[in-house]
């Protein structure tokens, strides 16, 4: 009797300590984001003196100013465009290639697949130097296509790898019955393999959307023209020229962050299971 009650208190105390630590860290995680959002609603003068998280007078007009005058609307449009085209292209090209590597037979198949996998494994972060040289040669510097194609390449090796493993598990019978129904290779790919691969495609889409939306280094190298820049690059340009306009800068940061947070909250289940499956299997 006594022992069990002691155990209970200890357990309760342990739980209390555990929750305290967890809640403290959770607050530390989200606090900077509230701080960002609160600051975006202050004026140029109160932003330096008012340290409250939620200012008394909310200046929502900061967002309209940031969106129009500070060009964040334009950067936002560019970011959406790059994300949609890059990820769309990536999904089609990598499902097609993965389908071929998994289901079709042709000379050098394994060698080509191995090449993709090897390049994925070898780290060479400084590759952007030669990539920049190539883009200059092809006259793709300061063009949208010069920003999109390298990013399709950056994502496709892993995507092909994930999708091939997925296609490998589709039963042969399904493919055979589709063939009997008169499907050719394209038909099997489009009507059978692509719809079946939806879960794997979802993972590919989510992670590449995050990667493209957040990309900075390549955007810095490729773009000198403001009208082509995506959000992170636009933020840095704004910070460089309007150092002290913190309220507007934070409004721009909020515009960059809010879509990602919304997508994350909706898709968090897939994102977290994707990251764990990817890391623990690989």
């Amino acid at each position: 009797m006594r022992i069990s009650s002691i155990y209970k208190i200890k357990n309760g105390l342990g739980k209390f300590v555990a929750y305290t630590i967890l809640i403290f860290v959770a607050l530390a995680c989200i606090f900077p984001l509230f701080w960002m959002f609160g600051s975006a609603l202050k004026t140029q003068s109160t932003v330096f003196s008012d340290f409250s998280l939620f200012p008394k007078h909310m200046h929502w007009e900061n967002f309209t100013i940031a969106w129009t005058k500070a060009h964040f609307g334009m950067y936002f449009f560019n970011s959406v465009l790059y994300t949609v085209i890059t990820v769309g292209g990536l999904v089609f090209f990598s499902t097609m290639a993965a389908f071929a590597f998994s289901r079709l037979d042709f000379p050098f198949k394994n060698a080509l697949f191995l090449m993709f996998v090897c390049m994925m494994m070898i780290p060479l972060p400084g590759q952007f130097v030669a990539l920049y040289v190539l883009l200059t040669k092809l006259h793709l510097v300061n063009t949208r296509i010069g920003y999109i194609l390298p990013q399709i390449d950056a994502g496709q090796a892993l995507a092909i790898f994930i999708l091939k493993t997925f296609f490998d598990n589709i039963p042969r019978d399904l493919e055979d019955s589709a063939r009997i129904d008169g499907c050719n290779k394209w038909g099997i790919y489009w009507h059978l393999a692509f719809p079946l691969a939806k879960p794997a495609i979802a993972v590919v889409i989510i992670f590449n959307c995050l990667a493209v939306w957040n990309e900075y280094l390549l955007a810095m190298l490729v773009f000198s023209d403001k009208s082509l820049m995506p959000l992170p690059r636009g933020l840095m340009v704004f910070q460089g020229t309007h150092m002290t306009e913190y309220a507007l800068l934070m409004a721009g940061v909020s515009i960059t962050v809010i879509p990602i947070i919304l997508v994350y909250l909706v898709m968090q289940k897939y994102i977290i299971s994707g990251i764990t499956a990817g890391a623990l299997k690989g």
């Binding site: 932003v47 780290p123 060479l124 952007f128 957040n214 840095m236 994350y264 623990l280």
Partner: protein, 302 residues
Amino acid sequence: MKPKSENKINISKVMDLTTSYLFILPALVIFLLFGLYPFTQVFWLSVHNWDGIALSKVFVGLRNFIEIFSDGPWWNSMCHAAYIALLALIFQNALALILALLVDKDIRGGNIFRVIFYLPPVLSGIVVGLIWGWIYDGNYGLLNHWLGFLGLEHLARAWLSDPKTSLTCIAVIHMWKGFGWGFVILLAGLQGIPRALYEAAEVDGAGMWQKFVNVTIPMMIPVFVLVMIMTILGTMQIFDIIAATTNGGPGYATEVPVTRILASMQGASRFGYACTQAVVFGVILLIVSLTQLRISKKMKQV
């Protein structure tokens, strides 16, 4: 009659192969052009001197590689990245492990904590750097404001422009952004340990601590190795946070390999030498990941 039908077969075979190749063609072309070609080009350029404009490149053999050995700022930048990696290995991973152990104990709301902890890793380094840059600001920063509130004004400083604190402050930002990732992986690892093992240990009379040492730790070693290596590889390539806060300064205090490569390329217009740095950096990272494979293989044998 016969050769004609053979011809037909051949044509249909060729057609068949062509469609097969068409499936991989877009991915392959993009890969060859924007992946493999720059990859090989890095090595080619690393043995040349080239300003990025001139039509001809000057072959210099291994001279760039000899030069890099006495390139102080380069190895300093490597040390800076290693310092951040070391702090991340110790503090970020310790925090991630503690939190994972807490949530693994069937705590209510575990998923909410998981969602919150994984929020910083999905944000861009630029955004994180800009927000934190302001928190650290010397004149109007939140950190100094709070220190004043606590009566610790004497500690207040321009955190990111003081060479004594700038690198550690960047490491703090990096760890804030990164611990949630380690947490998610470690938690998945912990939940993958069969509960029967714990029950068996309990039957043998093992307490909490003994269960942790004799069941949890041995089962988690492959996951530990994975998280450690990924932490090192990720941290050594740090760039976005630095671009958004200090951009390598004050002086050279927060230079990292990527900013040095950029400086050689854009600042000094030495494309060849920038590629030499890229090769050396890549080899170092490769050694790190090969060591991981070695260690995890040995662990599996044990």
